[in-house]
């Protein structure tokens, strides 16, 4: 174990936490407001990544520019999916809801596979990809830093929307009591639609950033669904505020394991699953 890598690992973990928080907060929104456990959430993320990739390949769009196109596209996809499918299972048993979103996830993933194939794709040619800041023996890449800043702004923006704006208030009201919110004149279905579309949008923007940071394949979605679940479960289902803390915890422990343990990179994913598993089992035994 090489402790001189510790500061670097901590910084990388914190920077990664931004992206995780962005993706998870969308999932928490869908669960908290609509009560839909969206197994397709990571696929929105993947679709965002591949849209950005395609915009880059076809038109040479910078990823920062493509966010402006990907965000509305994902909002529309989310709205469309809500309107055509999710809407109809709101009152169905939980099993049906989960299976439906799982099915949507399978469709999105395999559509992407048949369009882009299974090979990793990345936006490698952006000029600032290799730029970084050196502080002592810690180096901070511009891209992770940028994605961190964008994520913080977006997550902060979502918190602001939820706390201060009419639509945010409506979402909180619907989350607390669907019937009550309907009785005081809120258009519940419209609030759900916006919440779901917003959730897809946030994941999609996260995807744009991963396309620059890594080289994603169309199967990356499931891993991020699981990561987002780990964070959401850790924060407590439906708890949107706890997401930031949970993301930091998960991302930093992932980074520490990957950097400090021998053979750590292959254990990276195990951290997430171990966290999900341990949290769930711990909670279930404490509760009763």
């Amino acid at each position: 174990m090489d402790l001189s890598l510790l500061p670097q690992a901590l910084i990388s973990g914190v920077l990664a936490a931004g992206l995780y928080a962005l993706v998870s907060v969308g999932l928490a929104l869908a669960i908290g407001v609509i009560g839909i456990v969206n197994f397709a959430h990571g696929e929105f993320f993947m679709v965002g990544a591949f849209f950005a990739y395609q915009l880059f390949v076809s038109f040479g769009f910078d990823p920062l520019l493509s966010i402006l196109f990907v965000a509305p596209a994902l909002f529309l996809i989310g709205a469309l999916l809500y309107q055509t499918t999710i809407r109809f299972v709101l009152k169905a048993p939980e099993l049906n809801q989960m299976l439906l979103t799982f099915g949507i996830g399978i469709i999105l993933q395999n559509l992407a596979l048949s369009i882009w194939g299974g090979d990793p794709r990345s936006i490698g040619a952006v000029p600032y990809r290799a730029v970084g800041i050196q502080l002592g023996n810690v180096s901070i890449g511009l891209v992770p830093l940028g994605s961190f800043v964008i994520s913080v702004l977006l997550v902060g923006g979502l918190y602001y929307v939820l706390a201060r704006t009419p639509i945010g208030r409506a979402m909180r009201a619907v989350a607390q009591n669907r019937i009550g919110a309907g009785l005081v004149g809120l258009e519940v279905n419209r609030v759900y639609l916006i919440a779901f579309a917003l959730s897809a949008l946030l994941a999609g923007i996260g995807g744009v950033m991963i396309a620059v940071i890594q080289s994603p394949t169309p199967t990356i979605g499931l891993a991020f669904t699981l990561k987002a679940f780990a964070i959401v479960v850790l924060a407590g289902l439906g708890n949107i505020r706890g997401i930031v803390t949970a993301s930091l915890l998960v991302a930093v422990s992932e980074s520490l394991v990957a950097t400090l343990l021998p053979n750590g990179d292959s254990l990276r994913n195990a951290v997430f699953f171990a966290i999900i598993f341990a949290t769930l089992v711990y909670r279930s035994w404490r509760k009763l």
Binding site: V37, T85, F88, V89, A92, P93, E94, L95, N96, M98, L99, L100, F102, G103, I104, G105, I106, I107, L108, Q109, N110, L111, A112, L113, S114, I115, G117, G118, L222, L226, F229, A230, V233, L237, N263, S266, L267, N269, A270, F272, F273, A274, I276, F277, L280, V281, R283, S284, W285, K287, L288
Partner: protein
């Protein structure tokens, strides 16, 4: 089961014919006889082409086993996303057993089943208080944990990220002059097909025994409302565990046979989420909580898949996604439900039953 109070099902057990288990078992014997005769019939009808038809039949029977075993867990209301874990555990325990010990090759299947069942016991015991989405997420995470553990084991045991090889169960010998070349492939496929049919018959027997015993009512009670079931004297944890262990035993054996047939195991392929997807889409399409539904759907879907694989090489699973979404939205009771609806339309509809 040692349930003291009489088990009361919240949903009246309707639709069970008088004949019950005996009639079902007679039908099973007929079904099994047809399957056993199938290779010879195909051979005399199609000659050389029967080899590939038999491959397709193997796939269908394998899918039926996967689907029916998943359905057994679903009957207790659990959405298990860990089927790939038990499938993989079975495949790997067969591979490791034969690699490290001189055990006879036919021992690999029962051992694989037992290992998978033990693993299910561990997962089940840890998660038996989880329900709904918590269980689903935990089981999905569990699959990845098992995969990572297998990957990180020493190379000499599991072969790490590369995987390892298994000997085939059948090695037909080519005798020049007495048979043609393709007959070797035919004999191999025939052997595997019969083993698969054996596993399927075992699965059906388990499923029928559950459906014709108190377990059926206990499972339904747990599925409908775990807390009410508990109040009524049905132990939810125990029933969920029974379903989980039985199902995993079956799917572990299936994993072992498939590993023998493919000749190798590899973490990414053996623990692929595709296995879980197939395991859950098929029974939903066919009709959940039935024995016939998953088997029927396996036949339909494996035919469909074969066609689609030729059209879409990488993304043929998209069809499974579409089937899943369409089934949930338009026929939540599957093909069996659709069929029942068509045949009982004239009679009064029994409202209120909500199987999900």
């Amino acid at each position: 089961m040692s349930v003291k109070a009489p088990v009361a099902a919240p949903v009246p057990a309707k639709g069970r014919p008088r004949g019950g288990l005996v009639r079902d078992l007679v039908l099973l014997v007929v079904f099994a006889a047809i399957l056993v005769a199938l290779p010879s019939v195909l051979r005399s009808l199609f000659g050389q082409a029967s080899v590939s038809y038999l491959s397709l039949a193997i796939r269908a029977v394998g899918l039926a086993v996967l689907a029916l075993s998943w359905d057994i867990v679903a009957r207790t209301g659990q959405l298990s996303l860990a089927h790939a874990a038990f499938y993989g555990a079975g495949a790997y325990s067969a591979a490791v057993l034969l690699k490290l010990t001189g055990a006879p090759i036919w021992l690999s299947m029962p051992v694989a089943g037992v290992v998978a069942a033990l693993l299910a016991l561990v997962l089940g015991a840890a998660t038996l208080r989880l329900y709904g989405i918590y269980f689903a997420i935990a089981s999905l995470a569990f699959t990845e944990v098992v995969k990572v553990i297998v990957q990180s084991m020493p190379f000499s045991i599991t072969g790490g990220t590369v995987g390892t090889n298994l000997p085939p169960l059948f090695r037909p010998v080519f005798v020049a002059g007495e048979m043609e070349r393709w007959e070797v492939a035919f004999l191999r496929n025939q052997g595997y097909f019969l083993v698969y049919v054996g596993v399927l018959v075992l699965t059906i027997v388990i499923s029928l025994l559950i459906q014709n015993s108190r377990l059926r009512h206990a499972f339904t009670a747990v599925r409908t409302n775990e807390f009410v079931a508990g109040v009524m004297g049905v132990n939810p944890a125990r029933n969920k565990l029974i379903a989980f262990v039985l199902s995993s035993f079956i799917v572990g054996m299936l994993g072992a046979v498939e590993a023998h047939r493919f000749g190798s195991v590899n973490p990414d392929v053996t623990f692929s989420v595709h296995t879980t997807v197939l395991a859950l889409v098929t029974p939903i399409f066919g009709g959940l909580y039935t024995t016939v539904g998953p088997i029927l759907a396996a036949g339909v879907l494996s035919g469909l898949e074969e066609t689609l694989k030729r059209v879409l090489s990488d993304g043929y699973l998209v069809a499974y996604g579409v089937v899943l979404v369409v089934s949930i939205l338009f026929m939540p009771r599957g093909l069996v439900g659709l069929f029942k609806k068509l045949t009982t339309r004239s009679r009064t509809q029994s409202g209120g039953e909500h199987d999900g």
